[in-house]
Structures are given as C-alpha cells and as structure tokens.
Amino acid sequence: MLTQRLANIVFAILVIVACAYFAVVAQGFEAAGLLASSGLPSRFFPQLLLGFTALCAAVVLYVYASRGEAGDEGQTVFASSAEARRGLLALAAAVVGYVVWLNFGYVVMALISGPLLCLAMGVRNPVIYGVVLVLAVGVYLVFTQLLGTQL
C-alpha cells in the first residue's frame, strides 16, 4: 500500500517542480499599458508566493525523507485497497460526468453520472440506483421549473 511517507515525498517534489515551472512562466508577464505607475511588477507577487510554497515543500520533503517527526509514520494514504479503488473510481466517474456534460449535454450527464458513481462505489442494491435516479430527476426539475435555469 501507498504509505503517507512515499506519497508526501512525491507530492512535495511535484509541488517544487510546479513552483519552478510557474516561476519561469511568470518571467514572461508583460504589462498591457502604462495607465498607472505600479510599485511592483506583475511577476513579483506570484514569484514570492511560489518561492514561499517551494520552501515549505522543501521542509516537508526533508521531514519525510529524513524519517523525522511527521506525525503519520507507518500510515497509509488509503485504509484499504477497496477504499482506494472506490475513491479513485468515484473521482474518475466525476470527471467522466463532466466530459459527458461538455459533449452530450446536461440531461445525459445527470442520467449517467449517478449510476456511474454507484458502480464506482461497488453498489449492488438496485434500490439505491433507483433512488439516485429519482433524486437526479428531482434536482433537474427544481432547477429548470423552479429557478428557470436552462440546462
């Protein structure tokens, strides 16, 4: 299983890499026009924050890498592989729902995202699928009929 230690080390490295990337991008910021004398250039504040964030990430990285006091030694990110599967599949189902909305419209998304999430969670009880669909229809009706939202 993925340990907190490994996951946090990878995350901290990713944060540092991302900070470096965004800091480089910030070098290219150009003011559109000199309508006001601005005390600091546009890139100053983002770069300041990126430096700060990267520094914190470095400390976190050091704490985990050196097996120091991180407070969660030996713990894993997910309690069990079943939980990991459900969480990650639910995440995938949410993303699929959004992509479906973009391509096929709201109604299709509303109809399939519920059952898809239930599948991701490993639901076997058909009643749950039914209830989820009924609630989805309810959400649709409330927004379109009561609020006049165009979906």
Partner: protein, 502 residues
C-alpha cells in the same frame, strides 16, 4: 447611533410572510445539510445561492443566514449521534459528544449542544449589532495599508491553528494565495497564467473553487467509505434541554466561548471550525481536570458548539463593514450580496441601514426559532443519518455541478469546481488541512492588491508604508496573539514558582 425609521422598515421587511417562510425553510435546509456528513456552511450557502436570484435583498439574505446558522448547529447532531462530524465546525464536538452518547446520555449531549449553539449565536448577534456600526465609522479610514495589515493578520492566525504540521499548513496557504494571482493583473493589465483562454482573465472564480475544495473533496472521501454501515441507536435521540442549574454551572464557559467565537469570527478568513477548536482547547487548558475532556463531559460539548455558532455574528462584522469575508462561508455570502447589487462596505450602513437592521433582527430571530425547530428536527435526524453514503455521494455531486452552473451559466466554472475538488481530495488524503488553502484563496487578492497599492502610496518610503495608526494597531494585536501563549506560560511559571518558593 440607531436610525429609528430604518429599524421600523427593517421590522416591516422581516415580518413579511414570504421572508418568514424563507427563514423557516432556511433553518430546515441548513439543518438537513449540516446533519449530512461533510456538508458544511459554505456548501449549504453555495447550494442555496441560485435560489436567491429572483428574490429581493432581505428575504434572500435571511434565507442564507438561516442556512448558515442552522448548518453549523446541524453538524453537531451527527457528531454526537454517530461520531461523524457533519461539518468541520463539529469536529471538536465529536470527542465529548459522542462519548456521552455512547454512555446512553445522547439526549443530554444534544440538549447541551442546542443550548450552547443558541446562546453563542445570540451573544454574537448582539456583538455584531453594536460593533458593526461603530466599525463602519472606522472602516471609512481603511485604505490599502490597513487592508494589508488585516489580511496578514487573518492569514497568520489561520496558519497557527491549521492542524499539527506548521509547514504543511503554510504550504497549502501559500498555494491558495498563489492561485489567486491567476488572471489579468488588475493593476497593470498583464496576463498572468491565462493559458490563452479569456475564461481565466478574471482568474479562478471564488465560489466554484470553495465549493470544490469543500464539497467535491468530501464527496470523494465519502465514496471511499460508502459501504460502511452507520450504526446508532436512535432511542437516545430524545433531547434533554439543560436546566438553569446546569447552565449556570457552565456560565463561565458559555461566556468565554461565545466571546472567543465572536472574536475568531471577526478575524478575516477564520470560520466556525477554527472557533470551535479554539474554544475547546481554551476550556481544556483552563480546566482543573483537563484529563476529563474527551470522556463525555458537558464542558467539552458546550465550548465548541457555543463558539462555532458565535462565529456567525463575528464573521459578519468584517464582511458587512469592510467587504472582507470573515469566514469561507461569509465569502460565499458576500457573493450573494453582490448578486443583489449591494456592495458591503462602510457606505452600505449609510445607504441601506434598513437592510443592516433587517439582518441583525433576522439573525436574532433565526437563533430563537432554531431552538424550537432544532428540538423538533432532531427526531428527523435519525432518518437523515440513515441515508446511505451511496445516495448522498451522487446526489451532492450533481447538486454542486448544477448549482454552480446555475449561478454562473458557465461550464468552465463547473470544470473549476471539479479541479478544485480533486486538489482538495489529494491534499486531504496526504494529511494537509484545507482550511489554510481556502482562506489563502479568500484573502489572496486583498493581500496582493493592498500590498502593491501600499507600496505605490509609500513611494519608496518605509516610514510612509507604516504610517497607518490603525494598521499598526492590527500588527500589534497580531504580535500579541503570537506571543500570548509564551507570555502567559512564562507568567504562570513565575507565579507557580513563587507559590512553591518557601
């Protein structure tokens, strides 16, 4: 100080039948959302936001405030009955509340949390009513240097309470602020991280980001545990409201927690969860028997529950007078003001005192009614708590998607919601707190703009940069909050030493 005519208008506004119906509906909705695991006040307000489009200002704000208050209280019901905090604000309540419940004293625990919530809520409304108009007078003097001081204050305080690991808190706080720099630079028009799309010209939108961070990440975490059976015994869900004797025994606790909650609420960015946590640890620290905390004692329920409802009135102080949100939930509430064409700030008090008084009176009424509706609603809580996670997960996700789309008419914002949800999920799984992330995001724009405009005003002079009596006062208060712990420990050790000295 009080404009009598405006108070009259406020009464008329408030006792409009439609407004009263919304007030009750708001309390019920807030309770439901609060009881459902993981869904807290910011989400509750965000989900209700599209419903306010066709309403006038007063009813829509009353609806949202009722939801805000009731959602905080609702969280304690599931915290006590099943040991799952319904909201972040109820995390501290779980320890003693659930312990008490397991001893078969659930009714007593629920009664204590209801009484504490109401008292905290009422005290903070009174504070709001008296502090806000005064602060509005001072607020007119707030310029970039003062806003800078106040946002620094808010950020430093939140990082200090953001969980065990200081650097993890700082990291996500920094990340939250950084994300607010995306979009066109307001001060000179430069494009920052717009990645070639005009959707990002205004930066990452606030409400989708906050709802994503809180609700979507919670949904994903809920999905992991979806098949766990929730076990609880509903026979002990009969509320026992504490008698005068119990309350008078707890009066010091109630008073301190109410005030602490209000103060935490006033500090920009800090919300109910921080207030509850602070009050709990303060009461534990003061207690003669701190080891009893966590075993199911009334003090451990009253402190966090009083403080978390007290943050509501407090959070509205900077929101209404400065336009700086006092909590993440208040940040969403600020969006509701703007939808109504009201720009919170010092002038709002001069221009629309009637709306202000309607809000104060409304909050008062909400707290009173919450007592009765709360008593009644606890019976239904049993049904809600039994709603399986497998139903909540898809429905809440669909509601967040639809709600965000309805507010902004933008699929891009739904994408932001989802992306923020994934970010929130990842950092939470890695043991980071999302409080600094959300607060950094709320305060980031104020911080950058006020910093840069302060530098423009100072024009190279450090003395001019700090030539702000109000700002210096805020910095001094900040120094005091940081140093208070060490100072009081030192004073205590000296005192203790003296006593022990022969």
């Amino acid at each position: 100080m009080f404009d009598v005519a405006a108070v009259g208008v406020a009464f008329a506004n408030l006792f409009d039948p439609f407004t009263m119906i919304l007030l009750v509906v708001g309390i019920l909705l807030g309770l439901v959302i609060g009881i459902l695991p993981g869904l807290g006040p910011p989400i509750a307000i965000a989900l209700a936001l599209p419903f306010t489009f066709y309403m006038e200002a007063v009813p829509s704000l009353i609806l949202l405030l009722a939801i805000y208050n009731a959602a905080i209280y609702g969280g304690s019901i599931s915290a006590i009955a099943v040991g799952i905090p319904g909201t972040g604000a109820a995390i501290a309540t779980v320890m003693d509340g659930h312990a008490m419940y397991k001893q078969g004293r659930g009714g007593e625990a629920l009664g204590l949390s209801l009484a504490g919530s109401i008292i905290g809520g009422l005290v903070s409304v009174v504070c709001l009513t008296f502090i806000a108009p005064v602060l509005a007078q001072v607020a007119i003097k707030f310029g970039p240097r003062e806003f800078l001081a106040i946002s620094v204050f808010g950020l430093v305080v939140v990082v200090r309470v953001a969980g065990a690991n200081l650097f993890k808190g700082l990291l996500v706080g920094g990340l939250g602020i950084f994300l607010t720099t995306w979009g066109l630079d307001e001060l000179n028009g430069a494009e920052r991280y717009t990645f070639g799309t005009y959707h990002l010209y205004e930066g990452i939108p606030l409400v989708p980001f906050l709802v994503g961070i809180f609700a979507v990440s919670e949904v994903l975490i809920g999905a992991e545990k979806a098949l766990k059976r929730i076990e609880f015994d509903k026979t002990s869900l009969t509320v026992k409201i504490p008698g005068m004797k119990t309350l008078s025994k707890l009066k010091g606790n109630l008073a301190r927690s109410s005030l602490l909650g209000t103060i935490i609420g006033i500090i920009p960015g800090e919300g109910a969860a921080v207030g509850a946590f602070f009050a709990y640890s303060e009461e534990k620290r003061r207690s003669k028997e701190p080891e009893k905390f966590g075993t199911g004692i009334p003090e451990g329920i009253v402190a966090p529950e009083t403080a978390n409802n007290a943050t509501v009135g407090g959070a509205l102080v900077p929101t209404l007078t400065l336009g700086v949100p006092g909590s993440p939930a208040a940040a969403v509430l600020l969006g509701a003001f703007l939808i109504q064409g009201l720009a919170p700030g010092p002038t709002l008090f001069d221009e629309r005192p009637d709306i202000m008084y309607s809000l104060f009176l409304g909050l008062f009424l909400i707290n009173i009614l919450l007592l009765f509706i709360g008593l009644f609603a606890i019976r239904f809580a049993a049904m809600l708590i039994k709603v399986p996670m497998t139903v909540i997960v898809p429905t809440v996700l669909l509601l967040s998607f639809t709600g965000i789309y309805a507010v902004s008419n933008s699929l891009f914002n739904v994408g932001v919601l989802l992306a923020a949800g994934v970010l929130g999920y990842v950092v939470r799984k890695l043991g980071y707190s999302i409080a600094p992330l959300s607060i950094g995001f709320v305060l980031g724009p104020i911080l950058e703009n006020s910093l840069r405009q302060s530098i423009t005003i100072a024009d190279g002079s450090t003395a001019e940069f700090f030539n702000t009596p109000i700002g210096l006062g805020i910095y001094a208060a900040l120094a005091l909050t940081i140093l208070w712990g060490p100072i009081s420990t030192w004073v205590r050790s000296r005192m203790a030493g003296k006593v022990e000295d022969p």
